[in-house]
Amino acid sequence: MAATTYLEAGTIRETRPLDTLRFSLLVRITHWLNTISFVALVVSGFGILLAHPRFYWGETGGLGTPSIFDLPLPFMLGGPSGWGRYMHFQAAWLCVLTGLLYAISGLMSQHFRKNLWPAKGQLSWKSLRGEIWNRLRFEKPAAEEAYSYSLLQRLSYLAVVFFLFPLMIWTGMAMSPAVTSVFPFFVRSSGGYETARTIHFFAANLLVLFVLVHVAMVCLAGFVQRTRAMITGRVSGGRVRP
């Protein structure tokens, strides 16, 4: 250790093999655990929704009171909303515990600052516009993007990790009569029980939209190669970075 202290950190990095880990073990494990929990949450959330596919604003609402919108779905009593509920909360535990692990380790390892926070010179309207335009034309991402996140990726991942997921948990807590007896601020700050339910629904839709775009981008960039990278941690099976 003492012998290397006079070396610049950068010098050491330069001499390391180029085929370094793209995704840390922790990011990979939490990614797949979160995949499982997210699929279970969406399926069960839809099951619960089928019991009453109507939405309200404020504290209360039900049949016989005005709704803000009705989904064109049947009212299904029993069945999906029962097992859906058991599944939803079990998956929510997996999701929250995985999320905590990811967030704490991401802060400690500076994953968020180094890999997700927009890199120097990356954040400008011009580059953002250019990137959005490339995405809209289904332009294949630059080869460089296999090794580092693009600006659009960074911004959307940050929004998902630090806004949408916390919002889902917050509005979820707001719907628990037991939790709000201890922490009433969850429901008060949400603007009421039914508002929390409506926000929960919209935020879930945004998350589903994110996943659809995410999977579409993975397919565009090369589904097998990118999925293998998220499993093994390495890009293109150990080939040297171009």
Binding site: H52, L63, G82, R85, V179
Partner: protein, 253 residues
């Protein structure tokens, strides 16, 4: 040499796993002793259900109160979930204005008793304006008047061995509460909704009102309460009729 190492590794791993299993077993015993294991802890949904129940029991250990509202916030519409039983004993009692109806309390109590509706109405009454959400997603705010369940339980003298109170209604939706929720300040035996006698479809003559759980826990059409030390031998052993329909026993969510 390497064979030794891998054998040692194997033994260490085995011992660690055995210790882990034993540790889990001890943890489960302790958790059960402190009432942190729900009766429907088995099956594939058991882990999530147990985590939720145990966490919330610890969080709410100080008897936290559900939010209460002003009279101006009371909902104009109180939806009905599940109509009154059409069966004979209930319909006959309803037709007679519940004059012959009695609430029986038995099981692990010092003085098994029955009470008429008039006797219950003469007990010290309390009111609360609380929010009730159905598991389906709809909700309302209403004013409930009744006698705190804790008052009735103290009247009959609940044994120290008791851990749950079982509710028997005239319909099939029997259920049970743990004692922390049964003794909770907002758990009522309610006979009055928004200033009027409880309408038949809302659970006349008497229903329980559990403010910190979803609506299906507030059992309607009561006729008997039983104090028990375990739910294993009650019904199918999962604490209420709900798990057999796919719904969890604990509805604090």
């Amino acid at each position: 040499m390497s064979g030794n190492v891998s054998r040692r590794k194997l033994i260490t791993t085995g011992l660690t796993a055995a210790a882990g299993v034993a540790g889990l077993g001890v943890a489960a015993k302790i958790a059960d002793h402190y009432g942190l294991i729900p009766p429907d802890w088995g099956g594939i949904w058991g882990p999530g259900e147990t985590l939720t129940y145990a966490t919330q029991r610890l969080l709410m250990a100080n008897g936290s109160l559900a939010r209460e509202f002003n009279r101006s916030e009371v909902s104009k519409v109180v939806p009905v979930s599940g109509p009154q039983p059409k069966t004979d004993p209930y319909q006959r009692l309803l037709a007679g204005g519940f004059a012959d109806w009695r609430l029986a309390i038995d099981g692990l109590v010092a003085r098994p008793s029955t009470f008429s509706l008039d006797e219950i109405k003469r007990m010290p009454a309390k009111s609360q304006i609380t929010h009730q959400a159905c598991e389906e997603g709809w909700s309302f705010i209403a004013e409930w008047t009744g006698v705190p369940l804790s008052y009735v339980m103290n009247l009959v003298g609940v044994s120290e061995k008791a851990k749950f109170v079982v509710f028997y209604p005239f319909d099939a939706s029997w259920d049970s509460l743990d004692l922390p929720d049964a003794y909770h300040a907002q758990t009522f035996l309610a006979y009055n909704l928004n200033g009027k006698d409880l309408p038949a479809d809302h659970g006349a003559p008497l229903r329980v009102r559990v403010a910190r759980q979803l609506g299906y826990k507030s059992v309607k059409y009561l006729h008997r309460l039983t104090l028990v030390d375990s739910l294993k031998n009650v019904g199918d052993g999962r604490g209420s009729a709900s798990p057999s329909y796919g719904y969890s026993w604990y509805a604090g969510i």
